[in-house]
């Protein structure tokens, strides 16, 4: 009895015409470049493209034989789990507080949304400045407390630095959606629970959190895609993948090989691998995680 509305068109071309703009955009900005990447991943060429040769799967074989590429899967896993979990939980916390703020809530919210307007590369540089080993304000304070901060040579420090920058950059976006989600939960539910004597903690976990699950799920998907595809500028600006290769996540290596080393075959192969990983993750999320979501 679900009131699903189905529109039937009498002319066969009208639905296609209505869809066309969207299809053209997708074809131009997704299918065409993705197809190009697939083709290039099977080729090797010099930088100018004056000599191109088909090499079959050699670019992919080179990747599997490259220990540093395989190691960067582990780096990417650590990075994405940290960024997604910290980013989601911190912004949820902030949204819950912002939801309860009565006075100057507008100002509070505006300030929290601001970082979203900052470009990733700028975010990277910003955090780099604060943590620069000799001149950074934070590293100076840390030294005062007897903690020797040196992300130039300490891999854990470098990872912490890019995680902080990436989380900070994404919190605004997550916050916005969490806040909207929280505000769409009917007040009557929470008031009823309060009358029944439920503590704020209990009210959050039994009412708000389950009702937020569609938002949380959506943000999980978006955050994973963000971490996998959109964070290269932060890494490039803050650590350049160093020390050694400790912060060289997959998308950073791809960016580096394509735009700095101009090795298009190798980077195309990496983008194909990355595309598959993101597709698989998204399918898993929709298949299994979505079942736990109450709409």
């Amino acid at each position: 009895m679900a009131a699903e509305k189905r529109v039937t068109f009498r002319s066969p071309w009208l639905p296609w015409a209505l869809l066309a703009p969207q299809l053209v955009v997708i074809a131009l900005f997704f299918f065409w470049p993705a197809g190009q990447a697939l083709v290039q991943s099977l080729q090797q060429s010099d930088a100018f493209g004056t000599s191109v040769q088909w090499v079959g799967l050699e670019n992919f074989r080179n990747l599997w034989n490259d220990e540093t590429y395989l190691a960067s899967f582990a780096t990417t896993a650590v990075f994405s789990v940290l960024v997604a979990s910290l980013g989601l939980s911190l912004s949820l916390l902030l949204a819950v507080f912002a939801d309860r703020v009565v006075k100057v809530s507008g100002l509070y919210r505006t300030l929290l949304v601001w970082p979203y307007a900052v470009a990733p590369a700028v975010a990277g540089v910003l955090w780099l400045f604060m943590f620069a080993p000799s001149v950074g304000i934070v590293s100076y304070l840390l030294r005062e407390w007897g903690f020797e901060w040196n992300h130039l040579l300490n891999g854990n420090h470098a990872m912490a630095l890019i995680v902080m920058a990436a989380v900070w950059k994404q919190i605004a976006y997550n916050f916005l959606f969490f806040l909207a989600g929280l505000q769409s939960i009917p007040k009557s539910l929470i008031e009823a629970a309060a009358i029944d004597g439920a503590t704020p903690w209990r009210r959050f976990w039994t009412i708000q959190f389950p009702l937020l699950s569609p938002t949380t799920f959506f943000l999980l998907v978006i955050n994973v895609i963000y971490v996998f595809l959109d964070t290269f500028a932060i890494v490039d600006a803050a650590t350049s993948g160093g020390p050694g290769k400790e912060t060289a996540i997959l998308v950073y290596k791809l960016y580096y090989d394509a735009f700095k080393a101009m090795d298009l075959g190798a980077s195309a192969a990496q983008s194909v691998v990355l595309m598959f990983i993101v597709v698989i993750f998204t399918v898993i999320q929709f298949r299994f995680v979505e079942k736990k979501v109450n709409y």
Binding site: Q44, S45, D46, A47, F48, G49, T50, S51, V52, Q53, N62, D66, T68, P133, S134, L152, L153, N154, G155, S240, G241, G242, P243, G244, K245, Y256, D257, F259, K260, A261, M262, D263, G265
Partner: protein
């Protein structure tokens, strides 16, 4: 109404007459990566050339840093919109050389336009670097630099070291660093461009190969040999200094330079092109010196390796435009222009004549230290020291950075890291050889 049409027509005709000669002028696009004072220098060169004749107009355009302008030009070339002249850093040289259909050799351009062009006029290390194995000069040496050593004389005096004689050898550097540290200095020595200064220039300076086949100059089948006992000894030495706090790692590329200018670090190895910055911004007395070496190595010191950039001519343009390029290159090659550029920027005088001219003008006497880089380069080069030109060089530089960081951080021994540089670098060289042979 009629009168207005007449006036408009007259204006149009006059306009056409005025723009007529300007349209006959051939415009030549020049993409470069020079910023700040060096950007002004490039613009002045174009202005002077444009004022010197009427047929051609050079239009210089800043297209981002070296590693940005090259991909930009490559993308433009693929789209048929390439500039005529492109400034390419030395790390991109092998890539440009391997892209045969994309460039026109400078020797060819000059010959076709009827200009005399003698590669022998150039300093050997400079000319050798930009010349193909068949003897043809492929690009025009423009802004060349090399690796030198800077010391903070005030810091030396404060530590009770004789500042009039900068340490010349690595044992002396270690000794000075220890004294600086004992006097409370937090960063006695730092290193910029670590791969370039401590592996590449280190090799030519000691007359040992970094890679086979004359460091890649003689063929694409060159392979790295940077894990020789001498290389291991040097990196081990630096690692020990790092452990004792005598050498402090400050980052990749030229990032460490800031810590010298601020006075935080007392000694630094970096590019000769750093001179202008120190002279302008350092609030202490400083001195330039030759790169340190190991006195017990036979043949050391030989000569340091070339850096900087050269001008490449891209293919697919009209003959008249190439004539203009040749005229501009001829203008750039005159000893007067080159000597003026050298004095102004601190880049090397690329021809012997311009060096002699600069010396005669008394410039080196008035500006002590400015001749250090020149003296390191103006020497008879050997097959091992002529220069280093490797395919996929950008990635090789990066993996040198990565592996050396592993040493400074104590994660790898010098031997392990250098072995890894050789292994990973050779994979890149093999791939480059293969990609360049095809087609």
């Amino acid at each position: 109404m009629n009168r207005r049409i007449v006036v408009l027509t007259a204006v149009a005709i006059a306009g056409a007459a005025l723009t007529g000669p300007a349209r006959a002028q051939v415009e030549i696009q020049w993409w470069h990566s020079m910023t700040a004072v060096n950007n002004e220098w490039v613009n002045d060169l174009a202005k002077d050339f444009n004022a010197s004749q009427k047929d051609y107009k050079i239009v210089p355009t800043y297209k981002g840093q070296y590693f940005e302008s090259m991909p930009a030009a490559i993308a433009a070339f693929r789209a048929g919109q390439a500039p005529h002249i492109l400034q390419v850093f030395e790390v991109g040289t092998a890539t440009m050389m391997a892209s045969k259909g994309a460039t026109v050799p400078v020797g060819q351009i000059m010959k076709d336009a009827g200009f005399k062009f003698d590669p022998a006029a150039y300093i050997p290390a400079v000319a050798g670097y930009y010349t193909a194995p068949n003897g043809q000069m492929l690009s025009l040496p423009f802004n060349s630099s090399t690796t030198v050593f800077y010391i903070n004389k005030d810091a030396f005096k404060a530590a009770g070291i004789d500042a009039s004689k900068p340490p010349a050898t690595w044992p002396e550097v270690a000794l000075a660093a220890a004294k600086l540290k004992a006097s409370g200095h937090k960063c006695p020595l730092t290193i910029a461009w670590q791969g370039w200064t401590q592996l590449e220039s280190f090799s030519t300076w000691h007359n040992v190969e970094l890679a086979t086949k004359g460091n890649g100059l003689k063929g694409l089948d060159a392979r790295l040999v940077a894990n020789s006992p001498l290389h291991v000894r040097h990196i081990e030495n630096l690692a020990n200094m790092a452990k004792q706090g005598l050498f402090v790692y400050k980052g990749r590329a030229n990032i460490p330079e800031a810590s010298f200018v601020s006075g935080e670090c007392a000694m630094i190895t970096t590019s000769s092109g750093f001179y202008g910055n120190v002279k302008k911004n350092a609030k202490f007395d400083f001195a330039l010196a030759t790169l340190p070496y190991y006195p017990d190595v036979p043949g050391a010191p030989q000569n340091t390796v070339i850096g900087g950039a050269s001008l490449w001519v891209l293919a697919g343009k009209k003959p008249a435009e190439y004539k203009g390029v040749a005229a501009f290159f001829n203008f750039l090659s005159s000893p007067e222009v080159q000597s003026a550029s050298h004095k102004r920027t601190g880049y090397l005088p690329v021809t012997t004549a311009s060096f002699v001219l600069t010396e005669k003008s008394g410039f080196y006497k008035e500006n002590p230290g400015t001749d250090v880089a020149v003296n390191q380069m103006v020497r008879k080069v050997t097959d091992k020291s002529r220069g280093i030109r490797l395919g996929n060089y950008v990635q090789i530089r990066t993996l040198e950075d990565e592996e050396l960081e592993n040493v400074w951080g104590g994660k790898k021994t010098a031997q392990e890291a250098l072995d890894s540089i050789v292994k990973r670098g050779n994979e890149l060289l093999e791939r480059f050889e293969k990609a360049s042979k095809g087609g």
